[in-house]
């Protein structure tokens, strides 16, 4: 990747000296580095430092307390519950998204009359802002006049209305469903790009050999898509481990804290004015994401594909 611009045929006098070129490159990069550094790296570092402090609004003084926040974290049952929820949510959501996304992609990759329309329709959930889709889902899940209960009771799938967001198990799946609906299209787009690069001849050859459709999918499509799948999994797992917006609107972390994600939990600490502890929760959230990413990259042998 880095070498492309430099099989240069131009004598260097036209390009300026190496040092001038380099200085120019740094100048072009400076705004990005300053903004990303100042507004992301500095706050992240600040948060890390703050995680070793006691800093509660209206209750001065701010005091260095070493790893006390971390000790509190590991014995905080509500935090541990949030961690467990976040991990389970990420696994369930990403799993269903991958399957549904692959299903979308396989369908809209086929040549048929309505393909253009179907490709557009698949993108609708992606285009709707998360908060809006969350609000819409919360209306759909409404106990008294929600669409889902209406459908369920009228199709006799359930004799009585279900309190979708009211029990921990149903709230978990309600959140997963809303999230999968919103994000499967993103997966589908990535997979579609992967599918389009699979040579048609492979399938033709397989057909000649009499391989069934499912065999073609599992023996040709899936193995060839592996790199794309790994990248999609990394992207989506990172994203679902930091889930916030959807839960904030759907359940606010309830009932009884059972659907509180680590981001929701950290946010609540901030809102309560406990910046030291909130920072500790945030650091932990990042660690969680980092661990998962490393795991994927190792398991997916991702680095082989990343030629920088």
């Amino acid at each position: 990747m880095a070498e492309q611009g430099h099989r240069s045929i131009i004598p260097s006098r036209f390009r300026g000296s190496r040092a001038t070129e380099e200085r120019f490159a740094y100048m072009l990069l400076a705004p990005v580095v300053i903004l990303v550094g100042g507004l992301i790296l500095v706050p992240v570092t600040g948060t890390f430092i703050k995680s070793f402090y006691r800093d509660v609004a209206f209750l001065p003084p701010v005091k260095f307390i070493g790893v006390l926040n971390y000790k509190r974290l590991l014995s905080d049952i509500h935090f541990l519950q949030s961690t467990l929820f976040t991990v389970l949510f990420a696994i369930a959501a990403v799993l269903f998204e991958t399957v549904l996304g692959m299903f979308y992609a396989v369908v809209i990759n086929e040549k048929f009359r309505l393909r253009g329309l179907m490709r557009a329709i698949v993108l609708i959930p992606w285009a709707i802002p998360t908060i809006i889709s969350a609000k819409t889902w919360s209306l759909i899940y409404n106990f008294n006049y929600g669409l889902l209960n209406y459908v369920f009771t009228h199709l006799h799938l359930s004799s009585h209305p279900i309190n979708w967001l009211g029990t921990s198990a149903s709230a978990f799946f309600s959140i997963v469903i809303a999230d999968v609906w919103k994000t499967a299209p993103f997966m589908a787009i990535l997979f579609l790009a992967g599918l389009q690069s699979v040579p048609r001849e492979l399938y033709e050859a397989a057909e000649v050999d009499g391989a069934s459709l499912s065999k073609q999918f599992f023996r040709i499509t899936l193995p060839l898509l592996r790199p794309v799948i790994v990248i999609a999994l990394v992207f989506r797992t990172i994203d679902s481990l930091r889930i916030f917006d959807l839960i904030y609107v759907l359940t606010g972390g309830g009932p009884g804290g059972s659907t509180s994600s680590v981001s929701i939990y950290g946010f609540k600490s901030y809102i309560l004015g406990d910046f030291g502890y909130g920072s500790t929760v945030s650091v932990f959230t990042f660690l969680l994401i980092f661990l998962f990413t490393v795991f994927y990259l190792k398991a997916g042998r991702f680095s082989e594909g990343l030629k920088l």
Binding site: F14, V32, V107, P129, F244
Partner: protein, 277 residues
């Protein structure tokens, strides 16, 4: 049944499933936004009566501030897109065309930054913005948003710039063009479709952002549309679903139409961002 017929059947069934899953909540939003009684499913006695009142109310009732939220969201998103695209193009040009030390470190660093969860930034930002008295202002959102959408924008742009043959700008430089001229006169014009899809994604990213806006704004002076919708309160207590869905529809219909029109560019941008690397 032959495999070909089987495949055809599967594709049609699949299309049916997609047509059922993907648009339904969106359509439901529109249906409720036009309902006089949004709880019309509660019992047979409540009829569905079509009305425009929800839309009229959110547009004309100033105390709901819906139009303020839209204005704020648009202003913030437009500034963010403009600045982001400008500086990401500069950086993307440097990365794709010029050889310099530390390139890999910078690229990987910027990519790694997009791994941070927002929660690990927002507490610090809140304290900082409180200190410099920026809470509830546009700039309190604009700067963090730029930093937030920059990594992905840059990543996508690098992908596009790499695709353009460097012989083009090298030829221009032989003819005496400066680096800056090759960027503004050759690379940017040729990469317009790529820049356009990057801008679309940056716009959507900024327009949809929630956590920063929730923490860094306090009322309609700077509050953006997602926060406005999440915290929507009627003037009379009960949840005003009709108004909430009407607001949601006004916000999402343009986005959905834009997505359908520019589908090709968006797909290109998303896949370039994820797969090009």
């Amino acid at each position: 049944m032959t495999d070909k017929r089987k495949k055809q059947l599967l594709v049609w069934i699949g299309s049916g499933v997609i047509a059922l899953i993907c648009p339904t909540p969106f359509i439901w939003m529109i249906v409720v936004s036009f309902a006089k009684y949004p709880d019309f499913l509660a019992s047979e006695k409540i009829p569905y009566i079509f009305t425009l009142k929800n839309y009229i109310q959110i547009i004309t009732t100033h105390d709901l501030h819906v139009m303020d939220y839209f204005k704020n969201s648009l202003i913030v998103a437009i500034i963010v897109v403009f600045v982001t695209i400008t500086i990401a193009s500069f950086a993307g040009y440097a990365v794709s065309r010029i050889k310099f030390r530390g390139k890999t470190v910078i690229i990987l660093g910027i990519l790694a930054v997009s791994m941070f969860p927002q929660i690990s930034i927002v507490g610090y930002l809140f304290k900082f913005m409180t200190q410099i008295r920026w809470i509830n202002t546009y700039q309190a959102l604009v700067f963090p948003y730029i930093a937030w959408v920059l990594p992905l924008s840059l990543w996508i742009l690098i992908g596009y710039f790499m695709q353009l043959p460097s012989e083009l700008d090298e030829a221009a430089m032989v003819d005496g063009a400066t680096r800056m001229q090759t960027l503004t006169k050759i690379v940017i014009p040729l990469a317009t479709p790529g820049i356009f899809s990057t801008a679309l994604l940056a716009f959507i990213g900024s327009f949809n952002e929630f956590m920063f806006a929730l923490m860094l704004t306090t009322d309609y002076h700077a509050r953006t549309m997602p926060v406005g919708i999440a915290l929507f309160e009627g003037l009379h207590g009960e949840i005003p679903w009709g108004q909430i869905m009407a607001t949601s529809a006004i916000a999402s219909v343009p986005l959905v139409i834009m997505t359908l029109i520019f589908q090709r560019y968006i797909v290109q941008g998303l896949t370039a961002g994820a797969i090009k690397g």
